[in-house]
């Protein structure tokens, strides 16, 4: 029986594309002040990979370029729009050393330096006053 390596190649491209994108978006959005620079780079690279996918003769190379291209395009959107919104809402921790985040912390009372997700699930929802006391403890 002949093995088809397109599937595992697509699986690897999807997993690593999503994983690296997820980690890089959080790290870059936290550290970089002018977020439009990495967002534009991701956009250009994503479009470039899509063009490369059209040009590739090999199906595996074409698929890898196509998948990594769309994940980079998604990362551009995450960098420019979605992750900053999470920081404003307090769903992602703000970095007070980043001037852009410092402005967010000043302007939006919901923004925080606390990483709320850095905990294990406990099985019951948090009450509002409980969240306030956790916030005070971690400050």
């Amino acid at each position: 029986m002949e093995l088809n390596f397109i599937g595992p190649a697509c699986a690897a491209a999807t997993f690593f594309g999503v994983w690296l994108g997820h980690v890089s978006v959080r790290k870059l959005e936290r550290e970089v002040e002018r977020i439009w620079i990495p967002a534009t780079l991701a956009l250009v690279l994503g479009i470039g990979l899509e063009f490369a996918s059209f040009q590739a003769d090999s199906l595996i190379v074409s698929a890898i370029c196509g998948i990594l291209g769309v994940t980079l395009l998604w990362d551009a959107l995450e960098l420019a729009v979605r992750q900053p919104k999470r920081v404003i809402k307090g769903h992602a921790p703000a970095n007070p050393n980043n001037p852009r985040h410092a402005r967010i912390l000043e302007r939006y009372p919901t923004a925080t330096t606390i990483d709320w997700l850095d905990r294990n699930p406990r099985g019951t929802p948090y009450a509002a006053d409980e969240l306030l006391s956790v916030k005070d403890e971690l400050k």
Partner: protein, 110 residues
């Protein structure tokens, strides 16, 4: 012009998008302790994709498997999001077989 990569990339974007949906809904009603089952199903699909002769089907089965594995690593954080009130919390979750044993394992989070 080779359309294979573009079409597979576009379908993969939808598969990843569906991943958000099943992680949110799955965690809400089933709980994060299902992560080993989701991860195993994903790995199984990735291996299965090796034996699918149709190139499009093999690519989509592989991408779906990878999306399941990724989703399994997101379930723990999603459980915390529900508890924090960022998503609706459902108290009566359907626990998986061997739940007590799985509780002792460290849930992956990337």
């Amino acid at each position: 012009m080779n359309w294979f990569g573009f079409l597979i990339g576009t379908c993969t974007l939808f598969i990843i998008g569906l991943g958000f949906v099943w992680v949110i809904r799955g965690e809400r009603y089933l709980g994060y302790l299902w992560w080993p089952y989701a991860m195993s199903a994903g790995i199984l699909l990735m291996v299965l994709s090796l034996f699918v002769t149709n190139d499009y089907a093999s690519a989509l089965v592989g991408a779906t498997g990878a999306s399941l594995v990724w989703g399994s690593t997101e379930l723990k954080e999603q459980a915390v999001r529900g508890e924090l009130g960022w998503y609706p919390f459902h108290g009566r979750k359907l626990h998986p077989p061997l739940a007590e044993m799985i509780k002792k394992w460290k849930a992956p989070s990337l």
